[in-house]
Subunit: 194 residues, 4 copies
DNA sequence: AATGAATGAGCTTTCATTCAT
DNA sequence: GATGAATGAAAGCTCATTCAT
């Protein structure tokens, strides 16, 4: 039913996501939504949570990998961000729907803000390691982190609006180009144009 | 009435923006929405258009200024992007509401996509000029443009979710830091930390 | 404005006859209806009255003609009933609209019932004269009157529903056929098939 | 609910038949109309259909009776036309309401025109048989049919406008009088005055 | 007298939710 | 637990009427 609700948000938008359409897409009975989730609103929150958990799980697996050096881990993070598991038209559309709801509906906030808490900290830690490794003394790791996080957000926005022409490989190149500008010793040319 | 509708979207979200609430916020009568806009939906489009036009006008004034050199013009673009005229809690919330609608409601798309068409071209032109000026031979102006546009988008997203703690000056620093990494001769340190 | 209202009833039906449509068809301003008629309802009554008066005037002119003998006067009555002045698609449609309203809206009743009062009496008088003239002893003039009046009503109904294929000459033949059956000496064959 | 809608049309006219009044008369909830009929308009069509079917069923039973000779069958037709099952104030009022709608709302036309198709053919067949039986060489069966059908229509109109004083027995006498005039051998005096 | 912007009661319809089965 | 007919609050919209100009 969470999938049906997700599909409904994607197809009809949050405003067009009615109980009837969720029911139609799920093939279940009318009463099911309220029986299992209490209300439509709670089902929508469950959709948000499902997305949030899926996104967090992915990068946490990478973060926990002891075999990767900081630069490779960072690239893995970025690649994961453009992985169809999380970056697909439906889920990104839902993500943006909840983002739009976040201000007027504080209950969804924790789910759509999940990037910010641990994710930013993980990026920051990597960039600080890279900074030390490469002796990039004039680089502010915090600024670089904010830049990278915002860049990823912006690329998701681009994907949301142009999912048909958006190329994940191109997005990756953009990120690597920025990283290369900041940390030239770690992110060499061939990785971008290879 | 456009203002009242905008306020309603901000306060109640797009889903909670009912005719009754628009009426309440405007202080006008029920019939006004349909009298002047034909339908609530058309009023919402008028809100989107108003935002779109306001945003476009601002950067076009800067683009048309012949006295600015490319680097200063670019900085003006970025500063304008964080100007309260366009970057304020209400309007950004509305912006995100329409972004979320864009996929399921193609009519709003032209208004929320306005950044992409002319704006990107203007940025690209500036970066190409800077590239030539500074002989940054290994910089791909297209990649840099995509990066900068995405960065601005991402910072807006950050503002949308954290408008109380977001500092425009910090956002500007992030942008300058990225530009400095790419075009060190043009965007010097003191501008960031000054 | 009465004409515009009549046109609206014809084009859109009584239910679809809104002030806006009357205004559009009249080319006048919104306020005119209330200014000159007090309310839309009163304008509709004026339409009914106009129709009623026009119908009554026509047969009364015939009734007042001293040169016609009873049989010819009766035929004139019938011919007048199928005259485009009263039997035209628009006016008959309006007639039926008000007939439908008559039960739930007693104010229109006098206008759409106008046939019954004087008209029936005039017919009865003619048939009684014809009966005496022709010594049709076994003909009940009252029955014949009711039959003829009902026949005319029924033919109007037929016209209302099939105005494109309805032929007034055929309707006249039907009436003459009935009259001939009742009063064979007065309404000869050749008049029907001539 | 069809009954409630019918009642509403009778009491308030088609214009006054609002969802609220149908609901009030039915004792059911607001949502019922749309739940079961999709829209108020479709419910009204269902009312028209119900009337149409009821009327058609009645005369078709008579038409299918092999025991009746043509003259008796014709009289049965006429009697059926004045039977309270179809000739009652409410249903005739509704009939006229839909007649008035027919021109501007083609969807109702099939239902209110049902008399014309099969009914006329059935009458014509009977009159042709009677004509042959009685050797009424100078009677045009088509004219007679048109006359009779129009007569019945006209008597319904009379009933619609004066249901309290209208006497079905009198209406029957009128019809028999006309038939007797046309086919004297088949429809004798005593049947009228008996 | 004439206008038409403005009004708001009342319309049809939608839809999340309930609850008897 | 599962169902879906039934509910009614609330939605968007229409439209006759008002009234300042």
């Amino acid at each position: 039913m969470i999938q049906a609700a997700a599909e409904a948000i994607y197809k009809y938008g949050i405003r067009g996501t009615t109980s009837a359409r969720i029911q139609e897409l799920s093939g279940l009975s009318q009463g099911m939504v309220n029986l299992h989730f209490g209300s439509k609103e709670k089902l929508l929150l469950a959709v948000a949570e499902e997305l949030s958990v899926r996104y967090a799980e992915q990068w946490k697996v990478i973060a926990a990998n002891p075999e990767l050096n900081p630069a490779d881990k960072l690239i893995s993070f970025i690649e994961a961000d453009f992985d169809p598991l999380v970056l697909n038209a439906r889920d990104v559309a839902i993500w943006f729907s909840f983002r739009a709801e976040a201000l007027s509906n504080p209950k969804v906030f924790p789910f759509i803000d999940s990037r910010d808490k641990g994710f930013r900290a993980a990026i920051l830690e990597l960039l600080e390691q890279i900074k030390v490794e490469g002796q990039y003394d004039d680089v502010d790791a915090n600024l670089a982190t904010d830049a990278l996080v915002a860049l990823l957000e912006g690329l998701w926005t681009d994907y949301h609006l142009h999912s048909e022409i958006f190329k994940p490989s191109e997005a990756l190149r953009i990120c690597l180009f920025v990283l290369q500008s900041m940390f030239p010793k770690h992110f060499s040319n061939q990785k971008i144009y290879g």
